[in-house]
């Protein structure tokens, strides 16, 4: 399905079996070395801040859910560099056009913020099943609607994923 939709790497939860071209999303960093590539995902705001120093502050990806709260707090606090800020499309499907319009405005601001703070903006489908997935071409159209150049976006995202996987030790079998 992913190949049909022109998506090279999928992000999904780990269910005990490693598959090709999948980057696993974990809530916590595993204690031991894994045989699969992963990123640590969180929606807790404190992990986003550079002032939060802890052994557990290994979050790679922050899920943006409350845009207003995030926008208000991002201006105040210093954000850790190279962290990914993820926004999902799935929640938008049931919202009215007014909310979608606002979302696009938020996306523009978050993208600008990411550019300024050396963070990675990530647009995700937020799909729970195959029929909720979004094709690569549709992603590009939504990015263009948000005034984001798709080519730059894909290049930056590829680099970011490469860096995350490079710095992380996992036994490649």
């Amino acid at each position: 399905m992913a190949r049909t939709l022109q998506i090279d790497i999928l992000g999904t939860e780990y269910h005990g079996k490693r598959e090709k071209n999948v980057l696993y999303r974990l809530k916590r960093k595993p204690q031991a070395v894994t045989d699969y590539p992963y990123i640590v995902v969180s929606d807790k705001f404190e992990f986003l801040s550079s002032s939060y120093y802890s052994s557990s502050s290994t979050t790679d990806l922050f899920q943006v859910k409350d845009y207003r709260m995030i926008k208000a707090n991002l201006k105040k606090s210093k954000v850790r560099e190279q962290i990914g800020l993820e926004v999902t499309i799935a929640d938008l499907r049931k919202q009215d056009s007014l909310q979608v319009g606002r979302w696009i405005s938020h996306i523009k601001d978050i993208y600008k913020f990411c550019k300024c703070t050396n963070c990675q903006f990530i647009l995700s489908s937020g799909a729970n099943s195959a029929v909720e997935m979004v094709s690569g071409r549709s992603f590009e159209s939504i990015l263009r609607t948000c005034e984001i150049e798709p080519e730059h976006y894909w290049q930056e995202l590829e680099k970011w994923i490469e860096n995350k996987c490079k710095t992380r030790v996992f036994a490649d079998t």
Binding site: R3, T4, L5, I89, L92, R93, K94, D96, S97, V100, G101, A130, V131, E132, M133, V134, S135, R137, S138, F139, E140, S141, I142, R144, T145
Partner: protein
């Protein structure tokens, strides 16, 4: 005398529908409604979204729209309330059908 080609260029989109329905027009109306809400009635009319073909066994419909509005239509499809997935896109119906056949094999 040179004759100008006044035909608009179109794109054909293969869309996977999430639910089985005999009402293909219902899906088209859903896409048109969202497109109209997001980009306006005029842009929606200019998009000229049409149902071209429907495969009820595979839950796939093929729609066409004008090339200049294809970004709007793709965004509208991704943001419809009933999940619809754009499987492929092509400039000709023949090529799109061939690619769908290849990917299903």
């Amino acid at each position: 005398m040179q004759i100008l080609n006044r035909r608009d260029r179109r794109r054909y989109l293969a869309v996977l529908c999430s639910t089985k329905s005999n009402d293909d027009i219902g899906f088209i109306n859903l896409i048109k409604k969202r497109n109209s809400e997001l980009f306006g009635h005029i842009a929606n009319e200019k998009s000229s979204i049409r149902l071209v073909y429907s495969d009820k066994n595979k839950n796939i419909i093929i729609i066409s729209c004008k090339l200049q509005n294809v970004d709007n239509v793709l965004s509208a499809i991704a943001l419809t309330s009933s999940p619809l997935v754009v499987l492929d896109m092509s400039g000709t119906l023949k090529r799109l059908k061939r690619r769908l056949l290849e990917s299903s094999e």
